[in-house]
Symmetry: C2
Subunit: 101 residues, 2 copies
């Protein structure tokens, strides 16, 4: 299993409604991208100061699936139009599941 994790922190001007709009758009991706074997989008509960606002965990069979997702035009449009203009910071990682190498 190939996994991609992203944590997004939005700037102070970003409304709750906008973050929910981002979540809704991201949720539409798996139906259009069968390479997404699992796709979790989570809004932070605010338990700890400094937490990211939004987490995305995407699972693929292999790196080719990840690349297809990464470069998908609809996904890029969400990033460019709805995420980047409101972003304070972004941290990501891609890795193989340690349970299967």
């Amino acid at each position: 299993m190939f996994r991609h994790v992203v944590l997004l922190e939005f700037d102070d001007t970003t409304t709750d409604e906008h973050i929910e709009h981002v979540v809704t758009q991201l949720h539409a991706l798996p139906a259009a991208l069968p390479v997404l074997r699992s796709y979790i989008v989570g809004r932070d509960l605010g338990l700890a100061p400094g937490n990211a606002h939004l987490a995305v965990i995407a699972e693929f069979d292999d790196i080719d699936g990840y690349i297809a997702y990464r470069d998908d035009p609809t996904h890029r449009r969400i990033i460019d139009e709805s995420i980047v203009p409101h972003l304070r910071s972004r941290t990501a990682s891609q890795f193989h599941d340690d349970q299967d190498g």
Copy 2:
């Protein structure tokens, strides 16, 4: 399902062996902490510049399980002795799985 995601970036002096040592220590936690329903520790593949070095995805039945993991003495010792002294940055989020509310 309650999820906790952490992305860790280590400083430039941190060796590959040390990161592997951290991974080994973290991998021992689920056997001692049954509240951990799933525990994935992944080392970044280096596909993108600026990626975090290490990702942790922990799943719990509920927030109480997360708190037990967060405050577990063995876990705290790994954080205090093996992670914090080598840390450049840490980003985290806790959230309910969007698929079950």
